[in-house]
């Protein structure tokens, strides 16, 4: 299986603090990789680098055949728009826009909005009855499903999740993880899920453990 992510001696420093020490990692296409570690271990730093949200301090980083170090700011922005979908713990939905409009906003920044496609995406994540509701009128799980629809609307090859179930109850967490599993099977994107929850990590194909910016352990997880 070809690799969608290849890092070689990838590092990230914030002044004197070394958030990510030289990291060599390959992520095959279509894999669900869970990234675990305690607070400050470099999980989010790794995810930000891979998602083009931050620039490495050193090493090499190839994502989807693109050398992210060689991209300009415009190039990185294009890369983020077209290649990556991100789900955050904090949702970051626009509070005064409806669910459909939040999804259409992602379309707008990518190309052009298409309400019909946005509605289809929301129906796919089980929110066909909540199209016109604002985030404040949705439960945590529903908000996260809007985020998922927003993240996948532009057919990204790489879906990044930064503790997406951190604020959810157990039932909602299960619903979100089931949905991601189904979507991955349909659309076939690669998932990188940052989490500190072992149960959530177990949904992936492989889990890597980071400690103080160093990859300390790697585990293959069986299919659920």
């Amino acid at each position: 299986m070809p690799s969608i992510i290849e890092t070689s001696q990838l590092t990230r420093n914030y002044g004197e603090i070394c958030a990510l020490k030289p990291l060599d990692l390959k992520v095959p296409e279509g894999e669900w990789l869970s990234v675990m570690g305690h607070s400050g271990s470099g999980k989010s730093t790794f995810m930000n680098l891979v998602g083009g949200l931050d620039r490495p301090s050193g090493g090499e980083l190839m994502v989807g055949g693109e050398n992210l170090l060689a991209l300009s700011e415009d190039g990185l922005a294009r890369f983020r728009r077209e290649f990556v979908g991100i789900i955050f713990q904090q949702h970051h939905l626009v509070p005064y826009l409806t669910a459909v409009e939040n999804v259409m906003m992602a379309q707008y920044f990518h190309s052009v909005p298409d309400e019909s496609e946005a509605i289809t995406a929301l129906q796919r994540v089980g929110l066909g009855h909540r199209l016109k509701n604002r985030p404040g009128e949705l439960s945590g799980g529903e908000q996260q499903r809007v985020c998922i629809a927003r993240a996948i609307i532009n057919s990204p090859k790489l879906l990044l999740g930064d503790e997406p179930t951190g604020n959810l109850d157990h039932k909602s967490t299960l619903m979100v993880m089931e949905l991601l599993k189904e979507l991955r099977a349909e659309v076939r994107f690669t998932v990188i899920m940052v989490t500190h929850n072992q149960e959530v990590a177990a949904w992936g194909d492989r889990t890597i453990y980071l400690d103080d910016g160093v990859l300390v352990r790697e585990e293959r997880v069986g299919q659920r």
Partner: protein
């Protein structure tokens, strides 16, 4: 056959009318820089040139041909949507695409379309859906209106006959060529109207005459008919009979004139035949501000000239006289006159009818476009693929979104996805 086919293609081409109009515009531009009355010159040139008439006639022919072609397309689409017969020709629709997929997805697609307000029909291998009201009747009316309009102009160019005559109170209507004389004009009445468009109305009352017509009244608009011609009042004039006596004209001179001296203040003059004199007349404005044409109280003012010398000037009411320095001018009678054109023009009806058609077409089109424009989709299962066509007379983006969604759902070798 090939020649006929090419001729039909040219005749029904959308570009033909603008090309012909462009040529006439060019002709107008050329004439405008060399003649003062360019429009009249163009009209006269076209009317007198068979080749230009033939060129102009391409416009209504083109509109008619377009109407036939679009009607055929409309009927073909109706057949396809209705009972599914007929071939799915891509030119009948705006978009046609072929995708992988099976007809098994049609029932789910039909439900989705029904949910979006479409009416659907289908056999196992076809799915047809439509929504809204077609604007084709408005389009057909528009094409018919343009054809009628230009036909009307053509008829006017080739067949407008105009004869000018004076309609004088107490005198029979002028006889038109090939027709007997009309009845005597009993009364010409100019009345204030008080309307928002017309300040005054004019009516010409005519007694029964030798032409067998009963008593009738000619109005202003719409124009009345007289022996197949339109009665088109142009100017108001005054019929005046005078007598003149001068020191060197003891026998006097008398004449009847039709003068263009209305409204009061306008001057018109004539030579007194057989004398060196010239009389210039005008109407006096009554002190009470009334309109002498309406009231019938005429006071004629005159200037008696010999060469450039003014011999005397004065005024007299109808039936009155004025004398000074040996000169005596009697205003024997004054009558109302309407200088009228009798116009035979069959094209006018067509132009009026086309105006009505234009208005109806515009209103119809606007209503349909705003309220519920027509949208049509056709899906045909053929082998391992599905051919899908779309046509939207309005709300195109929205319709295209639904169309793409349905194609995504149908595009699966495993069957449809649930939605």
């Amino acid at each position: 056959m090939r020649v006929l086919g090419s001729a039909w293609k040219v005749l029904s081409a959308r570009a033909l009318t603008p090309v012909v109009i462009g040529l006439f515009l060019l002709l107008y531009v050329g004439i405008a820089f060399s003649a003062e009355d360019a429009l009249m010159a163009l009209i006269n040139l076209v009317a007198s040139s068979p080749s230009l008439i033939a060129l102009f006639s391409l416009i209504p022919l083109n509109r008619g041909a377009l109407l036939i072609r679009e009607l055929n397309d409309f009927r073909a689409r109706r057949r396809l949507l209705g009972d599914g017969t007929g071939i799915l020709e891509p030119r009948l629709f705006e978009q046609t695409v072929t995708i992988r997929g099976a007809a098994g997805g049609f029932p789910a697609a039909a439900r989705r379309l029904a949910g979006a307000g479409y009416r659907t029909r289908g056999t196992g291998a076809t799915l047809r859906a439509w929504k809204g009201v077609t604007a084709f009747p408005a389009r057909a009316l528009f094409l018919a209106a343009t054809a009628l309009f230009f036909c009307g102009i053509l008829l006017s160019l080739g067949g407008r006959v105009s004869a000018r005559g004076n309609v004088i109170e107490g005198v029979a209507l002028p006889a038109l060529e090939g027709s007997p004389a009309g009845g005597v004009v009993r009364r010409i009445a100019l009345e204030p109207s008080g309307g928002s468009l017309l300040a005054k109305t004019l009516s010409i009352e005519v007694a029964p005459g030798d032409d067998g017509e009963p008593a009738r009244s000619f109005g202003l608009y719409p124009p009345s008919r007289y022996h197949g011609s339109f009665v088109y009042p142009r100017y108001l004039g005054i019929g005046l009979r005078y007598r003149l006596f001068a020191p060197d004209l003891p026998g006097g001179a008398e004449d009847r004139l039709v003068l263009s001296i209305y409204p009061p203040g306008k001057e018109d003059g004539r030579e007194v035949e057989g004398t060196p004199y010239r009389l210039v007349f005008s109407l006096a404005q009554p002190a009470d501000g009334s309109d002498p044409y309406t009231t019938g109280n005429f006071t004629a003012q005159f200037k008696l000239m010999r060469g450039n010398d003014l011999l005397c000037a004065g005024s007299a009411p109808a039936g009155g006289a004025f004398a000074k320095d040996g000169y005596w001018v009697e205003i024997v009678e004054v009558r109302r006159v309407v200088v009228t054109d009798f116009i035979s023009d069959r094209g006018v009806y067509l132009v009026w009818l086309s105006s009505l058609f234009f208005v109806v077409a515009a209103l119809a089109w606007l209503s349909v476009r705003v309220v519920s424009p027509r949208r049509e989709m056709v899906f045909l299962s053929q082998g391992e693929g599905i051919t899908a066509s779309l046509r939207a007379e309005g709300r195109g983006r929205q319709t295209a979104g639904l169309f793409h969604e349905l194609l995504d759902a149908l595009n699966s070798a495993d069957g449809p996805h649930g939605t």
